[in-house]
Symmetry: C2
Subunit: 317 residues, 2 copies
């Protein structure tokens, strides 16, 4: 069993994660994670490994499972998000494991750091978001930099995992530099340390100030998108309701030209109609919308879908 | 309380989510979510709302809280990920709410669809990933298209939320088209419907075939990155251990030129040394690494950090 503990407090353990640990004969994990669930481990074989021994944890788990033991490999957060699920399957496949070889694998999902950190700061992830690890222990820097640049440009909310360590101090500054090419210096940033654990700490700052913030191995950094704001100590990314509705005195009204439950007037079909009617070239539209020119050219060449053509709309009216 | 139910089965409810519902006088949610926890709601006021009435759910919650009732606003997955946390704060702020006005807000995190769907298909999210909603009910299409293009280029694993509905059928085809400009047609794709619920269904396909797959309102689509593979019915994104280690016969060996627990030789510092030694111009390096030319120019202009200069390395040796 690959068990995601969530943030680590028992309150935020799922019933299945707790049962999985209870069923296990052997529990394997990084020392810090073992400590988080220490009181659930009485009478079990406990194998503590250090931070970088992820493959060893997986190898050990397979060995014990082959001896007929039920093994819980624990990860904080979600075992699938920068967790043990990946290394475990890499080791299993290399060892010739197959799903019907007699050793079953169950992944028990949990809330990842981005979910728990978001819950503590407000509602930063209510629109499209990314997770990027700044650790270059297994990933070349140009790959990481390319991802930072792409998502900064495309206005994602971003959660930075492994932002900084004793040795890796410049990566976060490079991330900041790449973001500042696309985002305003006052873009809200939240730094959450040890979420839902005794040493929990939440700090709000801005993209411009992020370099001076207290960021460490146990921190997750959340960078807002261009609409994210901080109010009353809460970081919120609007979902876009203001594009469609107006709320006044507890009443909700739909804006002119928009329909409840339907695509925005600038949604796919409305936008297709708009680019066809614009008279602009693919190159001009590409610049305007920051989209690839060949994509715009293909859309223009295809013409409007029948139900969106002016003739069809007239027939409907 | 904004309660994230996780996938919806009681097994995957956290202790705090269950307690939150138990403490509530009033439970408000979309009809489907209410049904998921129906047996926990005896004796409570239950307010069911339809899909598009998210602002109304938040307005209703605030009204009840003002009457002194303890309210649980439930979301499937995580309340912070395309969930009720965003609309709730939007409504609260508009109504003049502040954290010390006597109405407390607690967000109870849960595993989001991307975590639970990933757990069912293997380990697709073990490297950098994004969540993008294809719903254009509140987001203009060019914004969505720009995000799809950016993350397809930068080789993220991507989870598509709200991929398709009865009315919105073309968005997923446009997403496919934008991805095919950057990714191989055989890129693995998993489609997960109703994860951990009675009607759960997992389908594996490829980017090229994705258009023909059975995708609906309750589906999440996971698109792999360029290293993701499917083996024995499991979708796995390697974490990158193969960049550093070799595992043979249950033994782990570090590759030549790499050090356990240290940045890769192509990590930030190694790469900086490499670009300085290359003799290439910023423009050439930008093309080679698919990074902005001005970023490369700035790095070249700054020179190497002292501890990475050949002189410093010699001194160490």
């Amino acid at each position: 069993m690959l068990v995601g503990l969530g943030p680590g407090s028992h309150d935020h353990l799922t019933a299945r994660a707790r049962a999985g640990i209870a069923e296990a004969d052997t529990v394997i994990g990084y020392v810090t994670y073992i400590r988080l669930v220490a009181d659930l481990l009485e009478g079990k074989e406990v194998i503590k490994k250090s931070m970088t021994e992820e493959l060893d944890r997986a190898i050990e788990a397979l060995e014990r499972a082959r001896q007929g033991r039920k093994v819980a490999l624990i990860s904080s957060g979600d075992a699938g998000v920068y967790g043990m699920a990946g290394p475990t399957f890499e080791v299993l496949f290399q060892a010739g494991w197959t799903p019907d070889c007699g050793i079953e694998v169950e992944i028990i999902p949990g809330a990842s750091a981005l979910n728990t950190c978001a819950a503590l700061v407000g509602a930063p992830l209510t629109h499209d978001f990314c997770a990027i690890s700044l650790s270059d222990l297994l990933t070349p820097w140009p790959t990481i930099a390319r991802r930072l640049d792409a998502v900064a440009m495309a206005d994602f909310v971003v959660a930075l995992y492994n932002p900084k360590s004793g040795r890796r101090t410049r990566q976060i500054l490079e991330a900041q530099r790449l973001f500042l090419r696309h985002r305003a210096p006052e873009t809200p940033v939240a730094i959450v340390k040890s979420a839902y654990r005794p040493k929990q700490r939440v700090e709000f700052t801005t993209l411009a100030q992020m370099g001076e913030a207290d960021i460490g191995m146990l921190s997750t950094v959340l960078i807002g998108n261009s609409n994210t704001f901080i109010r009353h100590g809460l970081m919120v990314t609007p979902r876009g309701y203001a594009n469609k509705y107006e709320v006044t005195d507890g009443e909700r009204a739909t804006r002119e030209g928009e329909k409840a439950g339907r695509s925005l007037s600038t949604g796919l079909n409305g936008w297709l109609a708009e680019i066809h009617a614009s008279g602009l070239s693919a190159a001009e539209l590409a610049r305007l919308h920051k989209l690839p020119e060949d994509y715009l050219a293909a859309l223009l060449a295809e013409g409007l879908p029948a139900e969106e053509s002016p003739a069809a709309q007239e027939a409907e009216a």
